[in-house]
């Protein structure tokens, strides 16, 4: 992989800590803190980071290429495997994109179910992020708490569609499953269960001196830089930009819901943490509103058995837990898409890593990788 290190000007001749003032360290792909198989080449001066380069692609499965050889329906399960901790959002994005292409609209009941499940999934994704992020910074306990509570969400998923992680919950045109007996009651029970739990996480971390010191002013990124890099999601919002696709261009049934967009000020790791914690609470609010007023009616729109969308192209994006998840689909009128391009939030957000850690310490790299909330399955696709 020597060619990949080119821009760091890696010198092959023997270097020690002092004579070169710099040291090249390989973090990953086998490293406890890289959340999968990310390889980060760090150029260090002692403990100070002079530059980084991410080497990705260890988890590349060619999802976009596979799409060209599957029908629209057959490709649906594949999107679950990108951001596997937020599979429901992926499915939502893809289904809505194809619906747009087909010019059909999911019935209201399906849209409400979609919103509730997606928001549940957002909470699950943020919980997983919180646990692993805290673990990276050295607090091991939150991981187990969040996994305990995430389990409840996965149980609801399992009851709804039979799968816990790669749910494949939605179909093009609506939902394939009707809510099960007692769905609303269980979701309500979950809401009552999880609200004090989020307080518990905050109690452990928000005012913890070490946590604050480790995250405040770490990995700062300004709103301007975020926009320049195309960074979206909580990272963008923590920098002070009130941009949430759920509000900006409402999809599914989000227009009917009343919720806030939490915004940070400093754009540091601590603000991103606060924003995500707030987002979890807002998601609870959305679910609470939705659970009371799921309309009756069909859950599946009328769509042709053999899906042949008209020739054309479409870009549809949703607010996934990690940022803007977009699907660009080109149709040539056949049963298979001509081209599918995914705009994964993790991949775009990962770009910011280098900017955020320059001049920081090694330990901050870990914190920043954690706070970007990347999923390598989505980065590499």
């Amino acid at each position: 992989m020597t060619d990949r290190t080119s821009h760091l000007e890696l010198d092959q001749h023997e270097k020690t800590f002092l004579d070169s003032n710099e040291l090249i360290i390989n973090m990953g792909p086998q490293h406890p803190a890289t959340h999968g198989v990310l390889r980060v080449i760090l150029k260090l001066d002692g403990e100070k980071v002079l530059g980084t380069e991410c080497v990705i692609g260890y988890l590349h499965r060619g999802v976009e290429k596979i799409a060209e050889h599957r029908t629209y329906t057959m490709f649906n399960p594949y999107v679950d495997r990108m951001d596997y901790v937020a599979a429901v959002s992926n499915g939502l994005g893809y289904c809505e994109a194809v619906e747009k292409l087909l010019n059909v609209e999911a019935p209201p009941r399906a849209r409400y179910i979609r919103v509730i499940l997606t928001e549940l999934n957002r909470i699950a994704s943020h919980m997983l992020w919180l646990g692993t992020h805290a673990l990276d910074i050295g607090a091991i306990t939150p991981l187990f708490y969040t996994f305990r509570d995430r389990e409840e969400i996965l149980k609801i998923f399992e009851k709804y569609c039979g799968a816990r992680l790669t749910t494949h919950a939605f179909r093009i045109g609506g939902c394939v499953y009707e809510t099960y007996e007692g769905f609303e009651r269980e979701v309500k029970k979950f809401l009552d269960f999880v609200t004090p739990k989020i307080d518990e996480y905050e109690e452990l971390l928000t005012t913890n001196r070490i946590w604050v010191e480790r995250t405040k002013h770490v990995g700062k990124i300004s709103a301007r830089e975020c926009i320049a890099l195309g960074v979206t999601g909580p990272v963008l919002r923590a920098s002070g930009v009130k941009w949430d696709l759920r509000k900006a261009q409402p999809y599914a049934a989000y227009a009917d819901f009343d919720f806030e967009i939490p915004v940070g000020q400093n754009g540091d790791t601590y603000d991103r943490y606060l924003v995500r914690m707030q987002e979890m609470r807002q998601s609870l609010r959305i679910i609470e509103q939705g659970i009371g007023k799921i309309p009756d009616g069909p859950i599946m729109a009328k769509i042709p058995k053999v899906m042949k969308p008209p020739v054309g192209e479409i870009y549809h994006s949703i607010e996934a837990p990690k940022g803007e998840l977009g699907f660009f689909i080109v149709s040539d009128g056949s049963t298979q898409p001509y081209r599918v391009r995914v705009r994964p939030p993790s991949f775009v957000n990962l770009q910011a890593l280098d900017m955020m850690v320059r001049g920081a310490l090694v330990a901050d790299v870990i914190a920043v990788i954690g706070t970007l909330d990347i999923v390598l399955g989505e980065v590499d696709r």
Binding site: E14, T16, F17, L18, D19, N21
Partner: protein, 169 residues
Amino acid sequence: MAPVATTFFFYFLSALTVLSGVLVITRKNPVHSALALIMSLLGQAALYLMLYAPFVAGVQIILYAGGIMVLFLFVIMLVNIEKSLKEDQFNKQWLVGMAAAVALGALFVFVYIKGKGLFPDRTIQMPEQSNTQQVAVLLYGNYMFAFEIASLLLLVAVIGAVVMAKKRI
């Protein structure tokens, strides 16, 4: 308590000390040298204990072995380059140096043989249990001024080391 098996321990410890000293100056790798020096220092600390100087022994362990030698190892790690291992380990005037050192050794032997009377074979009774207190009395009594100068010296050394080693001031 009095040291037991004094003779055996004396020869054992002094052999340890001197042999480690030999290793210090002969090893190629500075880390090995430093480890040998640590052994030598610990052996000396034990010799101090046999000489009823427990406080000096404690200081020797805590300062020399635990402090100074860590500093040495730290620096060796920073500047350790493989290149220097392949080079000549002894400089050109090693023969002269050896000769001078041997002459010095001969001088010592001469002095010890000639001046045997200078080192009376009496030992004053040392109160071992209050050694620390007595050292403290001397240190903060008779040698107060020297103590202050030593602290000043340490301050200067701290500043000097920082100035020397810092990249940009």
